[in-house]
């Protein structure tokens, strides 16, 4: 596609429910990131996929969070048993490679609201 696509754009859920957020990166991009953006918190790193390497999951805040990337393309971020503090904008970004030409292209984000 022309850019990084995220769905849904908005998600309202009840506390305790599971949610799945989807990211379609730019075709051919080997690197994919998930970040969480909250007011005053900047962009909090969650997880990083690079090619066929094991993902860097060091930013996931708890074991309720998980992500996968199927076939080196589409990625899904899953949050189980959502809590109110999970409310934020979840941003996905992709880049051609993790080297000197790296330039992240961001999606529009998913605004998650946990009631």
């Amino acid at each position: 596609g022309a850019g990084v696509s995220q769905s849904p754009s908005n998600k309202v859920t009840e506390k305790g429910k599971d949610v799945e957020l989807r990211c379609d990166p730019i075709s051919g991009h080997t690197a994919l990131y998930w970040y969480r953006q909250s007011l005053g918190q900047g962009l909090e790193f969650l997880i990083y996929f690079q090619g066929n390497s094991a993902p860097d999951k060091s930013g996931l805040p708890s074991d309720r969070f998980s992500a996968e990337r199927t076939g080196g393309s589409v990625s899904t971020l899953t949050i189980q048993r959502t809590q109110q503090e999970d409310s934020a904008v979840y941003l996905c970004a992709s880049s051609l490679e993790g080297g000197a030409n790296e330039k992240l292209f961001f999606g529009s984000g998913t605004q998650l609201s946990v009631l």
Binding site: Y33, G42, F45, Y48, E102
Partner: protein, 115 residues
């Protein structure tokens, strides 16, 4: 742990004023440095980046940044701001040694430029 600090959370300037936004990162090693910008209602986009060579880098829209290795800093500057520079600015660092490859962002600085 790696971290990126942006000293100013909110900056208010009048048009034609000079701008300098501070960015420091936690420790040394080989780093790639970036500034990203998010204009109101738009995606995050790359403003400029440093990988090697001349520590003074030029970006789009008249922005520049200087890498000072001894100070672990990568401050963003613009001699004369315009109303259209109103946006949120994020510094980001990738440590490329020691297996740390993920891109870490600072908390961001909201810049408001008044006509």
């Amino acid at each position: 742990a790696q971290s990126v600090s942006q000293h100013n959370h909110h900056v208010i300037l009048s048009e034609a004023a000079s701008l300098e936004l501070g960015c420091n990162y936690s420790y040394g090693g080989t780093v790639n440095l970036f500034w990203y910008v998010q204009y109101p209602g738009q995606h995050l986009q790359l403003l400029l980046k440093y990988f090697s060579g001349d520590p003074l880098v030029k970006g789009i829209k008249g922005f520049e940044a200087e890498f000072i290795k001894s100070k672990f800093s990568f401050n963003l500057r613009k001699p004369s701001v315009q109303w259209s520079d109103t946006a949120e600015y994020f510094c980001a660092v990738k440590w490329v040694s020691g297996g740390y490859n993920k891109l870490i962002f600072g908390a961001g600085t909201r810049l408001a430029v008044h006509p």
